[in-house]
């Protein structure tokens, strides 16, 4: 079977989304496995969003915000970083490989870096295979029948 990873990416409006946009307007070629959701600030990310993405079948989740110190709202990206670190610990306790969850800082001028990041993450996911959250849940429900 040909496995094509699905990556859900939450990009902040001010830096990362603009960076991704730059990758597009610069006509850079990169892996089409990413599904971008634009949010106003990476500080808006709640763990619920990420867990839900995994539950709905994402093989990986990528969060991108402004570089530290560059946040449009002063410190949203620091808040994101703290939540993210805590969530990372939880997610590994839940048996989800840490490679599936990634936080990176992308500025509005880093279109090239964004394209490389997506390629790299897609490559990693291809190696570790499909996410198992949905499969686990389906399998368990069948067992009670």
């Amino acid at each position: 079977m040909n496995f094509r990873p699905t990556i859900v990416a939450f990009l902040c409006n001010w830096c990362a989304y603009t960076g991704a946009d730059l990758a597009g307007t610069s006509r850079l070629h990169y892996a089409p496995n990413i599904r971008i959701i634009r949010i106003m600030c990476s500080g808006r990310i709640e763990p619920t969003f990420i867990l839900k993405a995994f539950k709905e079948g994402a093989d990986g989740v990528l969060v991108c915000g402004c570089h530290p110190g560059d946040c449009h709202y002063q410190e949203g990206n620091y808040k994101c970083l703290r939540r993210f670190k805590l969530l990372e610990k939880f997610v590994s306790q839940m048996g989800i490989e840490k490679e599936r969850l990634k936080l990176e800082w992308i500025s509005a001028s880093e279109g090239k870096q964004f394209a490389e990041l997506v390629n790299e993450m897609t490559g990693t996911l291809l190696q570790i295979g499909p996410g198992k959250v949905q499969k686990t849940l389906e399998f368990e429900h069948l067992k009670t029948k």
Partner: protein, 326 residues
């Protein structure tokens, strides 16, 4: 009294699935109000208090029980059978208590698989000698005949993952006063919210009712487990560095744990509008970490020993992920 004004007594059932029995006891904890309950309703099935067999329930007409309080999670085929049977026989089915609501303490078993649990319980525990590797089997045939016991599932399920549930009363156990309020609403037929609602609890969080002193700018340099710190008995637990589930927990219990100088553990489940108490708690706690540099943040997070177990103590099976990924 003329014939028309005599209201037929309601029929009440209380059943336990994977539970400790505390929820059944919380019904008895209504004390003298229990007499009012019995005056308004006949218990027709209540294993902790009455000798009624499963087959008696099977023989009841469908929808003949007015109110069923189902406590406990669904852990095995017996729980599942009874959940389906009581759904069929009941007009109103209430998931009563944390286990029926979101999985509760038995739901922590979802951090493991059935095989791991059996291995630990029947082979590895320090007090176990089991050289023949005997484990319980659903069906055993011996000379005298065959013996059947329920099949344990790999997962623990909250009640609503097995059957449709009309109302949820959270709590470990639910506060008896709130049960009386709900029961009165059922008896009088007024004041019941739409099906699917959480009843006998508030919409807002426990922090809303908590009387401890709180500041707007919570900053935590290090987290403590409750025994590692001397509580000053008046400042918000989280500001003292002790994780309290208040910000991610529905009020309604009367903040009893905090009043007793113990942090909230989250038995009332998430407040309205939040589906996953642990995720909400991570959002709340995460932002309070007082550091900006990744290394320092890691050090502070190190002091939260077991975030998954702590934040999902009562709610793992009903949370977004539901169980550890296998």
């Amino acid at each position: 009294m003329s014939q028309e004004t005599i209201k037929p007594k309601l029929k009440l059932a209380v059943y336990w699935g994977a539970a400790c029995g505390g929820c059944c006891v919380s019904v008895l904890d209504t004390h003298e109000k229990l007499l009012d309950i019995v005056a308004a309703a006949d218990p027709v099935f209540w294993p902790i208090a009455m000798d009624v067999k499963y087959k008696d329930v099977e023989n009841m007409p469908d929808k003949s029980i007015d109110l069923t309080l189902f406590n406990g999670a669904v852990r095995n085929s017996e729980n599942k059978h009874m959940a389906e049977l009581l759904r069929q026989k009941s007009k109103i089915l209430v998931a009563y208590g944390s286990c029926a609501y979101m999985g509760g303490i038995p739901g922590l078993a979802n951090f493991f698989s059935k095989d791991e649990i059996f291995k630990r319980a029947y082979e590895e525990t320090e007090s176990t000698v089991n050289a023949e590797h005997v484990i319980p089997l659903p069906l055993v045939t011996v000379k005298e005949g065959s013996l059947e016991i329920p099949v344990m599932f790999n997962d623990v399920f909250p009640l609503n993952q097995i059957v449709d549930v009309d109302y949820y009363i959270p709590g470990c156990p639910p506060q008896s006063e709130r049960l009386i309020e709900v029961f009165t609403a059922v008896v009088t037929g007024t004041g019941l919210p739409p099906a699917g609602s959480v009843v006998g609890a508030n919409d807002k969080t426990n922090c809303d009712e908590c009387k401890r002193k709180k500041s707007d700018n919570k900053k935590v340099k290090r987290f403590y487990r409750p025994w590692e710190i001397q509580d000053d008995k008046e400042t918000c637990f989280i500001e003292q560095g002790v994780i309290c589930m208040g910000p991610a927990t529905r009020g309604g219990c009367g903040v009893r744990c905090v009043d007793g100088n113990s942090p909230c553990r989250g038995c009332y489940g998430p407040p309205s509008g939040a589906s996953d108490p642990g995720a909400k708690m991570m959002a709340a706690i995460g932002t309070m970490i007082d550091a900006n540099n990744p290394g320092e943040i890691d050090e502070i997070i190190e002091t939260i020993v077991d975030p998954a177990g702590l934040f999902y103590r009562f709610s793992l099976p009903g949370s977004i992920l539901g169980r550890k990924v296998l």
